[in-house]
């Protein structure tokens, strides 16, 4: 059970409503920019980034806590956040 330094994950194109929805469906508690799961906590910051004429929501999640627990959460979150388009 290693104690990890900060892990940062960044997602684009996922609006705050869905970040909260996905995180809560995975057992995390989400409120006021904080996410708390079993063995970890994270600050979530949303910002707008521009790519050409597109404006995208970027969610930056800064995790602290048990690395295995964080990775497990992130793996499951990534599966829910999967988008592709074309």
């Amino acid at each position: 059970m290693s104690r990890g330094s900060m892990i940062v994950a960044t997602f684009r194109g996922i609006i705050p409503f869905f970040v909260k929805l996905y995180a809560e469906s995975l057992g995390a508690q989400v409120a006021d920019g904080d996410m708390v799961g079993e063995g970890w906590r994270a600050k979530v910051k949303f910002r707008k980034v521009r790519v050409g004429s597109l404006e995208l929501t970027e969610a930056e999640m800064s995790f602290d806590g048990n690395i295995d627990a964080i990775q497990e959460f992130l793996t499951k979150f990534r599966a829910k956040a999967l988008r592709n388009a074309g």
Partner: protein
């Protein structure tokens, strides 16, 4: 109890005998392959690999899926599936508008044609019945006139016409099938198969009152609401706010050019100096007149334009990124007016604009290198227009170009001029500036294609997570996931642009509530993997192996320009990673994998 969402009806039309049988799709097939692309591929697979595309043994499947024509956002697609005369692989090509929805409302999960009519016919489809009718009056006509005539005959209310133009009749190997909204099943030459069968059109009457019924109505309503929230609030898709809605797909022109991934002058360069002149931003400012949409779509990515005067005067349904690139940067043409005119002409003849642009750019480079006598200058729009007519009618040099970019390049004495994979040419992304697209093109089961797995979402836009477009590491694994995801959406059959804002989470909710099939994200992704592997297995049985998963030398040895300067596509490294992720042996699906996925028992 029947599954929700499906019409539970397939029509099998034997054109040789003029005989029509109706049957039910097997429930096991629906559970394993969903519908749309997946079910169509299963039918092509069951029809056997030793089939010539232009033969009475080939089949042409017009497919809907379990969500088509429903309240699900962007659920108006139709899949056309066959063995391709361009590539010799299985191919599926989709179009939007309302024809997919109307086919479902008319009572069909699919209509499958086989054989060859003695005289030209069209299929009239209404109320669960298919009738073959004489098409001699519209044979020889192009798309727009055919649509007009058949709508006059049958009344335009609740009616779709899905037809070929002269190009399909003349067996142009990249002939498209186009509907009344100029939405086209463009890639792979499905229109040529239709022409060979002497099947001019499908005329479909369907009313939304017959939309599919969900197995779990309340759950479905909630799931659709969640999906719709994603679309209307999504960064890219929000109506009149998101970039796709405001500028259409052409919003990508400047973005892709900026990173040095816009194939220019037949891929001799990877940046176009006049990209902005043909960009979505410029089109919106100068010639945009309307934003037409498709069934259940609030996004309206199509951009109707009008050129009010001059020799390129045209009012046309839609410019879009791939077409503007193929006939623009790729051919060195910077006149948005001329390109709009040419796209409209291509739609009228019924040809795939991507392959068309590649054929013209092959001819331009052949002319530049003195391989042909014809003087075909970069960016000369009038010459391009002349070539479209010649290709559509198979006249003069057009007869060679009508064979597709690869065959034309071979005829000109330099196969390497064609930027193709398995006989189909590339789309608007250069694999030197977007490494993921390189492995995407190479391993696509229908020849070079950007839509099997769209790595630029990650590489250009950072959706859902940013990757470096010039780095190869991780792209093989990423592509595999994206390919499996799109095999699902193509089989539902919903618009790919949906996936800018909705993900597998939202897909599962809507699919389960509609069909009553209990599954989860892993189960659905496994289904996508099964569909992708079935296609690959079919291609393997046709003789395709890992050696066909390759790119032209241009991309592997000649570095790109702009930000891609000094970079070639690192295909071999990505291929190794990709095959490992797939569990394939040198491009071939092993027996163990087929069993694991339930493709063979």
């Amino acid at each position: 109890m029947a599954l929700g969402g499906y019409a539970n009806k397939i029509a099998n039309v034997d054109l040789t005998r003029g005989k029509i049988d109706y049957g039910k799709p097997k429930e096991d097939d629906l559970r394993k392959y969903l519908g749309g692309r997946g079910l169509g591929v299963k039918y092509v697979f069951d029809n056997g690999p030793k089939v010539e595309p232009f033969s009475e043994e080939n089949i042409l499947c017009f497919m809907t899926g379990p969500l088509v024509g429903s309240d699900v956002t962007m659920s108006g697609r139709m899949a056309v599936v066959t063995k391709s005369p361009l590539t010799g692989t299985v191919t599926d090509s989709h179009h939007g508008g309302w024809s997919g929805a109307r086919l479902r409302w008319a009572g069909f999960d699919g209509v499958v044609f086989k054989g060859r009519a003695k005289r030209p016919v069209y299929a009239y489809i209404e109320d669960g019945k298919v009738t073959l009718k004489d098409a001699s009056r519209v044979w020889g006509k192009n798309v727009h006139e055919t649509v007009k005539m058949l709508m006059k005959d049958h009344g335009s209310k609740n009616l779709s016409v899905v037809t070929i133009g002269q190009a399909g009749e003349k067996l142009v190997r990249f002939a498209a099938i186009v509907n009344e909204n100029d939405r086209a099943s463009g890639r792979g030459g499905t229109g040529a198969v239709m022409g060979w069968m002497k099947l001019k059109a499908l005329v479909i009457k369907g009313n939304i009152k017959d939309k599919p019924k969900p197995a779990r109505p309340e759950e479905f309503k909630k799931a659709v609401g969640l999906g719709n929230t994603a679309i209307v609030k999504g960064d890219v898709t929000a109506p009149r706010k998101g970039g796709l809605s405001v500028f259409g797909t052409e919003v990508l022109m400047n973005i892709v050019n900026e990173i040095g991934a816009l194939p220019t002058r037949n891929g001799q360069l990877t940046q176009f100096e006049h990209a902005d002149m043909i960009s979505g931003e410029t089109i919106k400012q100068k010639i945009l007149v309307d934003d037409p949409t498709c069934h259940a779509c609030p996004v309206a990515c199509k951009k109707e334009v009008e050129v009010k005067e001059g020799k390129y005067k045209v009012h046309m349904e839609s410019t879009e990124y791939e077409s503007m690139w193929a006939l623009g940067a790729n051919c060195g043409c910077s006149s948005k007016e001329a390109i709009a005119y040419i796209i409209n002409l291509a739609n009228d003849y019924g040809v795939d604009t991507i392959e068309l642009g590649n054929c013209i750019s092959v001819a331009m480079e052949a002319s530049q290198r003195g391989l042909i006598r014809d003087k075909i200058e970069w960016g000369n729009a009038d010459t391009m227009i002349d070539l479209v007519h010649k290709i559509g009618r198979r006249e003069g040099i057009g007869d060679k170009l009508a064979e597709g970019g690869w065959r034309a390049a071979k005829a000109f004495g330099n196969e390497g001029l064609a930027n193709q994979v398995k006989g189909q040419c590339i789309a608007a992304y250069d694999p030197r500036g977007l490494q993921g697209m390189g492995i995407g093109y190479a391993t696509s089961n229908r020849g070079a294609c950007h839509l099997r797995g769209y790595t630029p979402a990650s590489e250009c836009l950072g959706v859902p997570e940013k990757t470096d477009p010039l780095a190869w590491e991780g792209k093989g694994k990423l592509l595999k996931i994206f390919q499996d995801l799109h095999a699902i959406s193509d089989s539902f059959d919903i618009c790919k642009f949906n996936a800018f804002s909705e993900g597998i989470n939202e897909y599962v909710g809507q699919f389960v509530a509609m069909t009553g099939i209990d599954t989860d994200a892993d189960g659905l992704m496994k289904t996508g993997e099964r569909i992708y592997n079935l296609e690959r297995y079919y291609n393997n049985l046709c003789g395709f192996t890992g050696k066909d998963d390759t790119l032209p030398e241009k991309f592997l040895k000649q570095p790109g320009s702009g930000p891609a300067a000094g970079h070639v596509c690192e295909l071999d490294k990505m291929k190794k990673e990709y095959y490992e992720a797939r569990g394939w042996t040198d491009g071939v699906v092993p027996e163990q994998k087929l069993r694991e996925l339930g493709i063979v028992s």
